[in-house]
């Protein structure tokens, strides 16, 4: 006990550092993404310079094999990544939370069936499920990728929601609310959602990171948004062939991707520690 109280201020400082680092990284991407709506260095589809130019004052990150400005593409990539992340998490949360709550309330038989299905679905990587959904829609565009990722994420959210909701459902105050005549929808709104929300929201942040990486993988495989959308994954895939002459083209999108993913993960870690002080001891 004594050691825990002694290290507490130091630990707390470390955790706020994690939270801040996450906020700065994610904030940077949000700022860049917002900036792209009002200003871009070059037209993203125009051939702004020579092919595969190195970094220069005119083109800070050089140009790609068609002569398009790489920095412009990176900035648009931030916008796409954030749209995909937010969209996929929103869809995943809407489907997942609903399914999870249904399973938690359902009869034992239905609950078992749902839980077993979710277990199998979770064993498949997000990317694979998303690939199938993308294959299902005839034309690949940004929305089909977002919907696909949202559906893929919903299994993870549903499973977590089910477990969390079941834990709350056995509490005495639920019984008390039932006996005092509250309806189930009211119980969900007043007692269950507020109780499971902190843990869920931390999980959403992690899912966001997952979605961004999965979208990049989809684009990398050629199943993401079509060409004018400069997703980081697509830029990477195009740059892979010219990695020998223009290594920056393959390095820059990767760094952008990793910085956003790490930022979101740090944010999730920081949030978890702020929300749930019992975990701080670890």
């Amino acid at each position: 006990m004594s050691s825990a109280t002694m290290t507490a201020p130091r630990e707390q400082k470390r955790h706020s550092l994690i939270l801040w680092a996450g906020l700065v990284l994610v904030g940077l991407h949000i700022a860049i993404a917002l900036l792209t709506f009002v200003w871009l260095p070059y037209d993203p589809t125009a051939m702004a310079g020579g092919r595969l130019e190195g970094p220069s004052l005119l083109h800070w990150l050089g140009t790609d094999r068609l002569g398009r400005d790489l920095l412009t593409q990176m900035m648009i990539g931030s916008r796409i990544a954030l749209i995909v992340g937010i969209g996929a998490v929103a869809i995943g949360a809407a489907i997942g939370v609903t399914l999870g709550l249904l399973a938690a309330f359902a009869s034992k038989w239905l609950d078992d069936a749902l839980a077993a299905t979710l277990d199998i679905l979770i064993a498949f990587p997000t990317l694979l499920i998303a690939m199938l959904v993308v294959a299902a829609s005839d034309t690949a565009n940004l929305w089909s990728a977002i919907i696909a990722l949202g559906i893929a994420l919903s299994a993870i959210v549903a499973r977590l929601t089910r477990i969390l909701a079941k834990r709350v459902l056995v509490m005495d105050y639920i019984t008390a609310a039932r006996t005092s005549g509250s309806s189930w929808p009211k119980i969900v709104a007043i007692h269950i959602l507020p109780n499971i929300w902190p843990t869920l929201s931390v999980n959403f942040a992690l899912q966001f990171g997952l979605a961004v990486i999965a979208e990049a993988s989809l684009s990398y495989l050629g199943l993401g948004a079509p060409p004018p959308n400069a997703s980081w994954g697509r830029v990477l895939q195009e740059a892979q062939g010219t990695v020998y002459t223009a290594p920056l083209g393959a390095i820059a999108p990767g760094i952008a991707l990793v910085s956003l993913a790490i930022g979101v993960n740090l944010l999730a870690d920081g949030l978890r520690d702020t929300i749930d002080p019992t975990r701080r001891a670890r």
Partner: protein, 299 residues
């Protein structure tokens, strides 16, 4: 379930077979040929019957046997998963234990931080970086590809496997490391370890005799999940290194709407995923006697 999911996909496979500009008659003929003009129930019963006979059908596109093709592809994907898994284990177990035991030292903390990085790195980017370093700058290893003759050309096949396995192993090892570290931390704070120490066992002795067994149980269930997802995640890695494995077969089949191939790959992967889960379950029971008496639970 798979069957229904796949048939729900819009886009008739017959269209994919013919391409744009086919006449109505040609489409009808192609449908009869692939059987997609029959009622779903008839298609489904045929599908079940075929699976029972271990016949996964023939590809719409190449007309080759799906099972045979899967077998060929497995010769790449299975060794790849296996080697990647070995690399991950070799990294994660010692480093995870060190990170936990020496969490107060700088290198313990450094290991944890680096493993955090490893989780955020997309696997294909790491692959490209490794290719840049080892094939382009150092020229030690091939950047990708697999000999046409397969494992008959053993030396070339092995060198082609090194970089992809390393990539998989590094990424998988990073996430595994966190679980090993957490499990070791749990063991370190346990009463039985303190008791063993009080009874005169040295610290490494206590950790090995009592710690490993206890720590292994949660790690094994994660191992099962990781192994399954590596196997399925091979899609991306095979693309980076242009390996002719199960993943590239699936990708191609999806692009061509070659349903028998998609279905076959998914069927075999689901089977493998379930088998791996089952094996992890049994391994846990062997290690932890307390689990043996319990009925199988759906965690």
């Amino acid at each position: 379930m798979l069957f229904v999911l796949l048939r729900l996909l819009p886009g008739d496979p017959a269209n994919a077979l013919l391409g744009v500009g086919a006449t109505e008659q040609q489409i009808a003929a192609a449908r009869a040929q692939v059987g997609s003009d029959q009622p779903l129930a008839v298609q489904f019963i045929g599908f079940l019957g075929n699976i029972a006979r271990l016949d996964l059908g023939t590809s719409f596109v190449s007309r080759a046997s799906v099972l045979g093709e899967i077998g060929n592809r497995m010769a790449v994907t299975l060794p790849l998963t296996f080697f990647g898994f070995l690399v991950a284990l070799a990294l994660a177990i010692p480093l995870g234990i060190i990170a936990a035991v020496r969490s107060d030292k700088w290198y313990g903390a450094a290991i944890s931080v680096i493993s955090q990085l490893g989780i955020a790195i997309p696997v294909f980017w790491l692959g490209i970086l490794l290719v840049t370093l080892f094939s382009i700058n150092l020229r030690w290893l091939p950047s990708g590809g697999f000999p046409l003759k397969g494992w008959a050309n053993f030396g070339e096949a092995i060198t082609g496997m090194i970089l992809p396995s390393l990539t998989i192993g590094l990424v998988m090892g990073a996430s595994l490391l966190r679980y090993v570290r957490a499990a070791t931390l749990d063991v370190l704070g346990s009463d039985f370890l303190r008791t063993a120490r009080a009874l005169g066992a040295s610290f490494p002795e206590a950790l090995i005799r009592h710690g490993v067994r206890n720590g292994a149980v949660p790690v094994i269930s994660i191992l099962g999940i990781e192994l399954a997802s590596t196997f399925l995640g091979a899609v991306v890695i095979e693309r980076v290194f242009s390996l002719p494995g199960l993943g590239s077969m699936l990708l191609l089949a999806i692009q061509q709407r070659d349903y028998p191939n998609v279905q076959g790959v998914l069927f075999v992967s689901t089977l493998l995923v379930l088998l791996i889960g089952f094996a992890a379950d049994i391994a846990q029971r062997l290690i932890d006697p307390r689990l043996r008496g319990r009925a199988r639970t759906l965690a």
